[in-house]
Every structure is written in structure tokens, then in C-alpha cells.
Symmetry: C2
Subunit: 126 residues, 2 copies
Amino acid sequence: MRLDFAKLDGLVPAVIQDFGTGRVLMVGFMNEEAFRQTVETGFATFYSRSRGKLWLKGETSGHRLAVREISTDCDEDTVLVRVDALGPGVCHNGYRSCFYRTLRDGRWDVGEERAYNPKEVYGGQA
Amino acid sequence: MRLDFAKLDGLVPAVIQDFGTGRVLMVGFMNEEAFRQTVETGFATFYSRSRGKLWLKGETSGHRLAVREISTDCDEDTVLVRVDALGPGVCHNGYRSCFYRTLRDGRWDVGEERAYNPKEVYGGQA
């Protein structure tokens, strides 16, 4: 299960897709250790570039991503992880998907309601 | 339609998803000019890191990606482009999607047939 981590300073982009609906939920980055933990634990784990450390998605919110299938692309420098998303939303802003804004007439328009109140989950930080 | 190109040296990852089937077809990178051309022309354009220049997907193969919808994520550092994929396949290896291999028992297994013969499209380079 080789991957090419060299092109992006030790990281690969990881696209997270809902296994049931097919919706793209988020994109994160994995280093080799995050990828290994994702495979071994069955829960998506990323490398946080801002915090400089591994990040088990859902460690604060409980909104974990249970892995159903992992694919890689032709260049082996990206992974696609199809998941069951535990909890009402993946996005820390309260939406089901981080991709809750769509381009319309040159502006990013929010096209859906929040699935949960981020302040109740993350406290004052949301 | 602001995007944050600063986190990744002037690039954002661009996830390409089939509008009809929901399948994730490929992930490329866009710089600001590639994103602008994608919006203005309606065909997905990337920045090729290996070639160091803009790359209209399909310029050789004819397998262009006609944009149906563009979304961004909470951090505005990734785009999701939902497309109609023109031509039999997106991957230069002949498959419908670049994600044609899935992890099974620690190995990347090819789970589908080629949709076209890449040698007939790309010549000897495929």
C-alpha cells in the first residue's frame, strides 16, 4: 500500500466522501503516520498543518469518520476515503459537509442549513 | 469568490466529482489563474506541478471536464468541482476515474476494467 508522500512535503491530500450519499465531506492531509493510523484504527486521522500534529477527526466533537473503503489515484499521491460519518456534521462550522458554499454569480453562497450548533459541540471556539 | 492560496504555495487542491454519478474522478491543483480560467471557460484547468504551467484537462485527449458546479470548503483552501466528464475516461491510464485502485489486505487492487486504450489516445507516452 505504497503512497508517494514526497510531492507535498510528506503529505497526501485525503478526500473524504460519504459512503452512502456520495457527498464529498471534507479534504484533509495525511502524513505516513496518519495514513497508517487511519488504516489500522478504521477512523480517519489527519495531519494538522496548523497544529503540526496528528488529528483524529472527531476527537473533540465525537463526529468520527468510520472508514468503509480507501482508494488511491494513478500517481499514488492522493487518497480517497469513503466513510460513514458519525454525528450530525463533519464541518466545524455546523454543516454536514465542509463544502457548504457554492459559486453563484461570482460569490460563495451558502446553500443549506446547519446540521448542528457548533457552539454546543466546540464551546466558544466555533 | 475569494480563495486562500497561501497555505499551499499558491495552490488549492481541486477535487473533481462526476455530477451525474457522484464518483470522485481525480484531484488536481489550481493556482489563482487556473481557477479563474476554470470559472471563465467552464472547463477544468489545473496547474501542473511537474510541468510548471497551466494545464487544460483534455487538451491532448479531448477528455475535458465541463463544469457544472463549484464549491469551496469552510477554510476556503480547497475547491470541489462537479463536472460532466467528456470522453470515456478521466485517467491517463485508461480508467474512468484516477481512483481505480482500492486497498484490500494491505495492497492496492485494481477493481475495474479500462474504459479506453490510453495508447490510442496518448500515443507511446501512456
